[in-house]
């Protein structure tokens, strides 16, 4: 556990000096400035005192126990310093120094040496090439970090793989009037990992929300498992950079990690219950709200405005981000009409008018709190010079104290009304500069409510004959299994498929064939069967089948064959699964042919699927309206598609030897008439 790291009783600083431009100096200064509750031991062989503190020539001379030693000396000296820390019994070294694995070659070897030394002594390594940690808990108040943002307390913790981005988050959270609980930027993460940090923050009672910056992921299954657990109680937010190819290349040279495809990130985060944001600003705006306000119980927002235009902006942004404009009850509207000025607008958004008084605000807030159609309240207000604005602020904080619905506020103002803003913020109510930002933050809160529900969903139940399918797979060589074997495996999991019979001898005698039939070559060497003349359609009877077989077995002398019932036409879909290295099985769904290949219209989800996951996968593609039907097109059997998704998910879970599976096409028939897999490729890994 990382208790000694985040709640240290003593911190030593190697490289501490009286040069104000040195990192060691700044770390000591930060520890002092922000009131670290433990001991600070500057280490410097040449100076007796640093920043008024007694300095020690070596860590070995320090009198008491040391939990953390911050190291800011030349990179080549670090292994030796770690050795001394080990001999002293230091629990964690925070290596600020850069010039390790991120430089490649010699740097990587130096990092290995450092780790080797640490391991020998049982010292844990945080970094190298990292900013450090902070914990704003007043019992600890540790700022073991060389950066420059003042410590502001808050309920959101920050994990930043890049120090610069962690700083970006922290600085702007502070500009919004909030702060952090724990801050961890761990650079090369050679030992203490993102997952360990997540474990710790998940258990930290002061952390209500976790905000992460991720550049690359290690141990993705572990990440998913932890986040799923944490996100049931605490919101977990993330931005992932390196979304474009150009940026991914730069990340790779910046951190020495492998390039990871961004297309997987959404599927991983969805599975993990992590809320993804595309800008730091949007993440901060949402994290600020999530760490301070209750989660709305539904998507219905009531908006209160004292200027019309910004209220309209709020509607647009709320609705475009998935919220609903609440329909007020008749009672609410009547009481608003009675209590507000005649110029007020008593539909949603309530426009209380610029002249509205604190009493008008109180009345409106109270009515919206009582109205069961309202799940959350958004206020957009200006600070008119002819109104008691601090009174408005107090009416908001008083109302907030009486309700379990979240309140978010956009205050359009300037520094002369700082007192008004402070009253609202000090009550734990987030204040934003823009109605758009407040609306998006509220939408994110509702999204978190949905995530909590999703995390409680059980994996869908699907019966499968694991033993039978496993035996088929066990009998196959690595690579693509035969068509016959693949269809047998589908049958073992009850996945509806065209009746398919293996043929290796004169086929006229096959009693099980259903006509009209299709003869297909079955060879792992022939991938595009149709293109290579390996499929004959419309075989009406045994004679036709025999003739086709004679012809084809001449053309493909080495191959096996299958005879398949010829299915009627329908809508073609593709269902696939790929076991991504270091991630796990990822399912894919899309309409067949051009929709997948040319329009890239596919949805992904990590297995195992819940019933609801399957429903979402089908509905997420842009071309979903074609399955939904209408305008002369019959609705497709969506329930049957979902069943195939669920059974394929089950197969992937049961049989880790399946590396890839592609059901392409699966023919979908109208509602109630099912689906049939026509072609299946399963790759054993």
């Amino acid at each position: 556990m990382l208790d000694s790291l985040f709640r240290p009783r003593a911190v030593a600083v190697m490289g501490a000096s009286n040069n104000p431009l040195s990192i060691g100096h700044i770390v000591v200064k930060n520890l002092k400035t922000y009131g670290f509750r433990g001991e600070i031991y500057p280490i410097n062989p040449n100076q007796p005192e640093i920043l008024g503190l007694k300095a020690y020539k070596s860590i070995l001379e320090v009198p008491g126990a040391v939990d953390i030693c911050c190291i800011a000396v030349k990179n080549v000296l670090v292994p030796q310093m770690v050795d001394e820390c080990g001999r002293k019994g230091v629990k964690f070294v925070i290596v600020h120094t850069a010039g390790f694995r991120e430089m490649g070659g010699d740097g990587a070897r130096l990092e290995d040496a450092l780790l080797e030394t640490a391991r020998k002594h049982g010292v844990r390594v945080y970094g190298p090439n990292c900013q450090g940690i902070m914990n704003s808990d007043p019992d600890v108040s540790v700022y073991a970090n060389f950066t420059f943002t003042p410590l502001n307390r808050g309920k959101a913790s920050i994990i930043g793989q890049s120090g610069g981005v962690a700083e970006l988050i922290n600085l702007n959270l502070r500009k919004m009037g909030s702060g952090f609980r724990i801050y961890a930027s761990h650079g090369n993460a050679s030992d203490v990992s993102t997952n360990e940090l997540l474990d710790y923050l998940g258990h930290d009672p002061g952390t209500h929300t976790i905000m992460m910056h991720i550049e690359s992921m290690k141990d993705t299954p572990g990440f998913i498992e932890r986040c799923r657990k944490i996100a049931r109680n605490k919101s977990v937010l993330a931005i992932r950079t390196g979304r474009t190819q150009a940026a991914a290349t730069a990340v790779s040279s910046h951190t020495g990690s492998l390039i990871q495809q961004d297309s997987l990130t959404d599927a991983i985060f969805e599975r993990a219950g992590v809320m993804r944001f595309h800008t730091a600003e949007e993440m901060i705006a949402a994290g600020y709200a999530l760490s301070n306000q209750p989660v709305p119980s539904g998507p219905n927002v009531g908006i209160i405005a004292n200027a019309g235009g910004p209220g309209i902006i709020a509607i647009d942004e709320c609705v475009l981000n998935g919220l609903n404009l609440a329909q007020f009850s008749e009672e609410t509207k009547k009481k608003l009409r009675d209590g507000l000025i005649p110029e007020a607008y008593v539909e949603n958004p309530v426009d209380v008018a610029a002249t509205a008084t604190p009493e008008h605000f109180s009345l409106t807030l109270d009515l919206l709190n009582r109205d069961p159609n309202v799940d959350a309240i958004l206020i957009t207000m200006v600070t008119p010079p002819f109104v008691d604005c601090e009174g408005l602020a107090r009416s908001i904080t008083e109302a907030s104290g009486k309700m379990t619905k979240p309140i978010l506020v956009c205050v359009q103002t300037n520094e002369n009304w700082a007192g008004t803003v402070a009253i609202i913020r000090n009550a734990g109510i987030p204040v934003y500069d823009y109605p758009e930002t407040a609306s998006r933050a509220l939408a994110a809160m509702a999204r978190y409510g949905e995530i909590r529900k999703r995390l409680a969903e059980a994996p869908a139940q699907a019966k499968g004959d694991k033993a039978r399918a496993g035996a088929i797979l066990a009998g196959a060589k690595a690579g693509f299994v035969s068509q016959a074997a693949a269809f047998d495996m589908l049958a073992a999991y009850g996945i509806p498929a065209a009746k398919t019979v293996s043929v290796s001898r004169e086929p006229a005698a096959l009693p099980e064939v259903t006509f009209p039939a299709v003869l297909k070559v079955d060879s792992e060497k022939i991938v595009h069967k149709s293109d290579e003349g390996g499929v004959v359609l419309n075989l009406e009877d045994g004679d036709a089948l025999r003739n086709a077989f004679t012809d084809m077995s001449g053309r493909f002398p080495e191959a096996d064959f299958v005879v398949q019932e010829q299915c009627p036409a329908g809508t073609e879909i593709i269902i696939g699964i790929k076991r991504e290295e270091g991630v796990g099985p990822v399912m894919m769904f899309g309409l067949g042919g051009i929709y997948v290949e040319m329009l890239k219209d596919v949805s992904f989800c990590m297995a195992p699927l819940s019933e609801a996951d399957a429903g979402r996968m089908v509905r997420k593609i842009r071309s979903f309206p074609l399955l939904q039907g209408g305008r002369g097109i019959a609705p497709s059997d969506i329930a049957a598609i979902e069943q195939v998704l669920i059974r394929v998910s089950r197969m992937a879970q049961d049989l880790p030897e399946i590396g890839e599976m592609d059901l392409n096409p699966v023919i979908v028939y109208p509602e109630g008439r099912g689906v049939k897999v026509v072609d299946a490729r399963i790759k054993k890994q």
Copy 2:
């Protein structure tokens, strides 16, 4: 012209008082506080002096000439006050008072009375229900507005239909360290209109950029014409609220205007050369840069960072918003390698490292300025406590002075480095809090460069026999013209169509028919011809045609018919045009059938089209890859599609009687093999 409004020599204020919570008081105070260079005349029948200024019992007692009279008295008194202003010879009244058309019924009648009175005297009305105007030109310094944002000078002017949104823009522009040139929020806009304001700002030499908030548009053609002219020299930016149905309904009750469909806004703005933004924040970030920095000559950005992570964010955002990461020349890279520290990364983004000095910044900026592959420079910097950050700032401003490429900077810092930020801002270089915001602003600048090019494009040339098509249309009744007439009109404009012959007698004798042929009913009553049995395909010869005709003329005794060559199958597209009321002809393009009807995958553009417009329309749909071909699909004849778009655009321009036209389907053949219109509906209005 609005010179007396924006550059007044004397402003009177009716409703001025010593009550600090009255609007009249605040207007007088603002005029005084911000140093209005002309005369201020408070008007109040009961008080001799207001805020130290002599007050007059009536405007008629004011000694000198009055350009503007601000009116903040009870709504029912306003017409009488305007009458007095008229008698005094006041040029403009700014009516702050609310309670007019926005209230409906009596309010609308009061507004009419006010306008009637003003017209009688030749007084221009600004408002009612409005904040007012401001002009920050030091020669004028007029703040005839009751709002509360301090006057900060800048080069961007603001037009806000909603005072609350105009304020939002102004407040946040100021928070970014910038300000406005002219500010105009004109409320109900009963007389002085958005278009007149645009005219004025277009000619104002101090206005470099115009930022607008639009809720509803009046005189859209006039808006487009003005903006197209202005946007060649000054960027015009806008947000339009009421994008969702819920918000549009609220706008309508807020302003009394009709609900306008948001789907037209993109087409209108594109034609007008107006840059649309979806949040006020993004508009402000872009307007701040556009009003202060040169427009980049291309999309290639060079990024400089002193912390890796934020530089990576900048790449993502730049690339995702249409910019390219510049490829540095070998010379640039070599000199960076020689001049920076070994840990620096000398590809793009250049990571100069946190320890970088002012000299490192100067060197890098100079090299990127010289490199012809770089069109714009984006800097993301932290302010390390161990670096001379003001020196970094000065190296940026000095470099900026020597270059014509734009520089935008994201500074991650706090209030202790306010001096560093001020140095950069005072040189006219925008500073942002987030790398995302800076990147998007830069992308918007490049987009403006594209708009300027687009505005210089000539309408595409297309010959058409206007006289012949006009005569056909003149001979038709209002409503859908006959198929035969529609195909004749297409022929007059050289639009390739299936050969189509009108039949009203025994058809076997028709010499012009090409077999195989199709017989179609031609009646405006029968819209879905195929569904109603009005189409017979595959007529191989005269006998077949005659038989089909006998049958169909029995079933449709009142109708006419056409015989059409049966075109081979191909990709089906739809080309349409609709003359939108108060807007003009809007063209539509999409792939036929499900793509338009179910997937809503269409592009719009206002006529007349340039060659490039036609190209963009085709490429804008999501399903464009299907026309582009590949993966076994032949590329379609895109040039032929563009030609049809251009000719249809020409027709719409030539023949304003065409209310609607739908070419559906048009069959597209592979490259070089053209297109053929198979069905055409033209509605005469």
